[in-house]
């Protein structure tokens, strides 16, 4: 009997199919998908737990382990590949209650630790390091919480800057702290109060407000396309830094 297997079927035979468990329910998916695309492959229309699909927005925080390995792992669904016997559940939202603040009130007095005023509970951190182990960005979360306790805003800024605010750290903190919000307050405080808007920016803004550039822009706006093209083609290009 002739081999009637089509090219497509032959190709399909080569794909390794994996078993995954979506909130406990088993599906078969081809190897190579991310958790996010695997869910879609299984037929889920995602509404929550999906944002930029590129590892920048923190919408798709996911907890998983394996049928044979109970250790809980953490990742972003859009950035984590599915593996055989993965058991998956998503944490699209975590109820962390932020304290009220006005940015103006965050301005620290000499020697004052505003973060401690705003988040007095941070001193209850006992260093279990679950937050760090949870972070899908591999940030040193527990370290920046210690920096926050000491009032070292610069270090909190440096170490927390790549935080996507997925909230997984807060979900795992036994003391109910919310490291991602604490770090955000520290960074806003730094940006608004510990650094200054540079003079070159202030000067240019004033120059524009006073209308000092208006007549020249008006000329450009009235110039015909040939003249604009000429000026564009002959403009001097500053070398890259």
């Amino acid at each position: 009997m002739a081999d009637t297997t089509t090219v497509k079927e032959k190709a399909e035979q080569k794909i390794r199919m994996l078993d995954i468990y979506v909130t406990g329910k088993r599906y078969k998916v081809p190897e190579g998908l991310t958790i996010q695309t695997a869910l879609e492959y299984c037929g889920y229309n995602i509404i929550r737990s999906c944002g930029c699909r590129a590892g920048f927005c923190g919408a798709c925080g996911t907890i998983y382990n394996f049928t044979h390995d109970p250790t809980i792992r953490y990742g972003l669904a859009c950035q984590t590949r599915v593996e055989q016997n993965m058991v998956i559940t998503q944490i699209p939202f975590f109820p962390a209650a932020q304290p009220l603040y006005n940015l103006e009130d965050l301005k620290p007095e000499e020697g004052e630790n505003k973060l401690l005023t705003l988040y007095p509970d941070i001193i209850t951190c006992f260093g279990c390091n679950n937050c760090t182990k949870t972070c899908p960005q591999d940030l040193e979360v527990m370290e920046f919480i210690s920096d926050a306790i000491r009032g070292d805003i610069e270090k909190v800024y440096q170490k927390s800057f790549d935080c996507l605010m997925c909230g997984l750290c807060a979900a795992r903190c036994p003391q109910g702290l919310q490291p991602y919000n604490i770090a955000l307050a520290a960074r806003r405080l730094r940006g608004a109060h510990l650094t200054t808007r540079p003079q070159h920016n202030v000067d240019r803004t004033k120059e524009i407000e006073k209308g000092e550039l208006d007549s020249e822009i008006e000329k450009l706006k009235k110039a015909d396309e040939a003249e604009l093209r000429r000026r564009y083609a002959t403009r001097e290009i500053e070398p890259a830094l």
């Binding site: 190709a11 399909e12 794909i15 081809p30 190579g32 998908l33 996010q36 695309t37 879609e40 492959y41 299984c42 037929g43 889920y44 229309n45 995602i46 509404i47 929550r48 999906c50 944002g51 699909r53 590129a54 590892g55 920048f56 927005c57 919408a59 950035q79 009220l100 006005n102 940015l103 960005q137 591999d138 800057f161 790549d162 996507l164 605010m165 955000l184 960074r187 806003r188 940006g191 608004a192 650094t195 808007r197 540079p198 070159h200 920016n201 240019r204 803004t205 524009i208 407000e209 550039l213 822009i217 450009l220 604009l228 093209r229 564009y232 403009r235 290009i237 500053e238 890259a240 830094l241």
Partner: protein, 564 residues
């Protein structure tokens, strides 16, 4: 997933030419040749993917098929079943969408005395803003000037931009940067406290303000926090998540008077009466024009264009999209992912399979993208991946060679992390790239105060058009958000103080459905689209389409070809 052996062979050629390329400056494409290149290779110029709109304010002008399908779509509501007297929210200003532009508009409208409702389809801040990496332009260095910025914007846009909008963009820019800093955005700075600014494609000065390569994330998380804090303080700023607008409401004088919302999770309808509406719904990458992968977030489905079009608002430059020159072409899990232009501004070169440069790394985006497409499709000098994608090398290790070890890790932490997740170390090996659908150059027609031709309707951010002409430059999109977002908020608040609303009506929807019928378009999709439907259903139960029909594009590819 490290590179397979045959790709490594090409990488060896790239490594071998590095000493030579250190000395080499590839010349920029002369203006005359540039237009020819773009005409021949840019996806915008493929006429077979454009069609003439049959109804609405842009009737007779061309639009890409995918956008035309949505613009000519059926309404999600039946006006006869809606009781407009049963109003759920009664506010001064309704802002639809919460990326950078919507967020800025909501803050400014509130500051200007309005009672504001901000509604968003996903979470606050789920928008293209958050994925913007490279930076925000503003001509604020002493050797720079808004005049030069103006020239760059016009040249980049092929002189098709609206001069009033460009003037506004470049003049508001330095203050927008300062405003963000006052809210707590941490711009990268030099040791002397001045802004650390980089060049970008098509810019004649260094004027890109950045926050590592997480610029949009930093901008967005600060704005989102400010919105939440103001709301918690009981100020007149409320927000609702997972509740997109599906139709605008007019009054009997033809003024915009609110919107119908849909709770995405429960299907419940909400009626908002508002004296002014700001559309800030962003772009359309998730409709996958010409089947291109995209850098855009999940909700980028052109909803705002549909809403505005149905109340008679014209669109401008809607036939032109931006294909970012460097989307990831390998590994397949991150196909189409944005590789920030900052990689090239930091001096990575673009290299073909033989290890040679074929284009200056900092051409304007349409030019750079066209040159990459030409190298792959016409000259056959691209590298084909095991799954059939084609691309060229972006030689990132050159950055550390030129600027010193550690530069890549310091300046591009997001990129390093993205590729490390797939076992590629971009400090040691190049990235394979190909153009990816990135940005909607055109959109809703606005004036400098962000008002549209429809009274009471304002628009800001990626959903509006005219600012960038037919091609946007790096760092001008995030700038656009804060320049026109702030203006829209202020203008909408002012309009709301003065306007007298008449009786609410959905007659325009009845009229629309009638026009669709007349034009024989009834069988078209329902729009706005809201979310792409990527769910794979082999044997669905009839009638089970929570989000409508599946989109043709699938993010997991064709399992029979892509996953072997």
């Amino acid at each position: 997933m490290p590179y397979p052996a045959y790709m490594e062979e090409s990488i060896h050629k790239v490594e071998a030419t590095r000493p030579r390329r250190l000395e080499e400056t590839f010349s920029r494409i002369p203006e005359a040749e540039r237009e020819g290149l773009v005409n021949e290779f840019h996806p915008d110029y493929k006429k077979e993917y454009l069609r003439e709109l049959k109804i609405g304010p842009n009737k007779g002008s061309p639009a890409p098929d995918e956008i035309a399908d949505l613009l000519e779509g059926n309404s999600r509501i039946n006006p006869d079943e809606v009781n407009l007297d049963d109003v759920d929210y009664d506010v001064d200003v309704l802002v639809i969408g919460c990326g950078g532009a919507g967020g800025a508009a909501a803050l400014l409208a509130e500051e200007n005395g309005a009672r504001v409702l901000l509604v968003t389809k996903l979470r606050l801040g789920d928008a293209n803003t958050i994925g913007a990496q490279a930076g925000t332009q503003a001509a604020d260095r002493p050797n720079d000037s808004p005049i030069l910025h103006y020239l760059d914007v016009m040249g980049g846009g092929h002189f098709t931009n609206d001069p009033d909008l460009v003037e506004t963009l470049v003049k508001d820019a330095p203050d927008a940067i300062g405003w963000l800093e006052s809210l707590g955005v941490n711009w990268d700075k030099e040791p002397d406290g001045s802004y650390h600014e980089l060049s970008g494609g098509g810019t004649c000065r260094r004027r890109m303000h950045s926050c590592r390569d997480y610029t949009g994330l930093e901008e967005m998380r600060v704005i989102r926090d400010e919105i939440r804090q103001r709301h918690m303080h009981g100020r007149t700023l409320d927000f609702v998540e997972f509740q997109p607008a599906i139709e605008l409401i007019l009054d009997d004088k033809g003024q915009v008077a609110g919107a119908m919302l849909m709770n995405l999770e429960t299907g419940e309808m909400t009626i908002v009466r508002a004296k002014a509406v700001v559309i800030a719904t962003g772009g359309m990458g998730r409709i996958h024009i010409q089947g291109f992968p995209t850098t855009n977030h999940y909700g980028a489905t052109a909803d705002g264009l549909v809403l505005a079009y149905r109340v008679g608002c014209p669109l401008i430059h809607i036939d032109t999209m931006q294909y970012h020159p460097t989307g990831a072409a390998f590994p397949v899990q991150i196909l189409g992912l944005l590789i920030t232009e900052k990689v090239r501004t930091l001096s990575a070169q673009v290299i073909n399979r033989d290890g040679d440069q074929f284009v200056h790394p900092l051409e304007a985006r349409d030019t750079e993208a066209s040159a990459i497409i030409r190298e792959c499709k016409q000259r056959g000098k691209g590298i084909t991946t095991p799954t059939g994608e084609v691309g060229v090398w972006l030689d990132s290790p050159m950055i550390d060679i030129i600027r010193g070890e550690g530069t890549i890790v310091r300046e591009l932490p997001a990129m390093v992390r993205q590729f490390a997740r797939f076992d590629i170390d971009i400090t040691k090996e190049p990235m394979l790239v190909y153009p990816t659908l990135h940005y909607q150059n055109g959109g809703i027609m606005i004036k400098a105060d962000a008002s549209t031709p429809v009274p009471g309707l304002f628009a800001a951010g990626e959903c509006e058009g005219g600012v960038h002409g037919r091609n946007r430059l790096i760092g001008n999109s995030t700038l656009d958000l804060f320049v026109f977002g702030r203006r829209a908020g202020k203008s909408a608040a002012k309009w709301a103080r003065e306007v007298k609303l008449g009786k609410l009506t959905l007659d325009h929807v009845r009229k629309w459905q009638h026009e669709i019928k007349e034009a024989g378009l009834e069988s078209r999709l329902v729009s706005p689209m809201l979310l792409p439907n990527y769910a794979r259903h082999e044997k669905p139960v009839p009638g089970f389409h929570p989000l409508g029909e599946a989109t043709a594009y699938t993010p997991f590819g064709d399992a029979t070809s892509r996953w072997i």
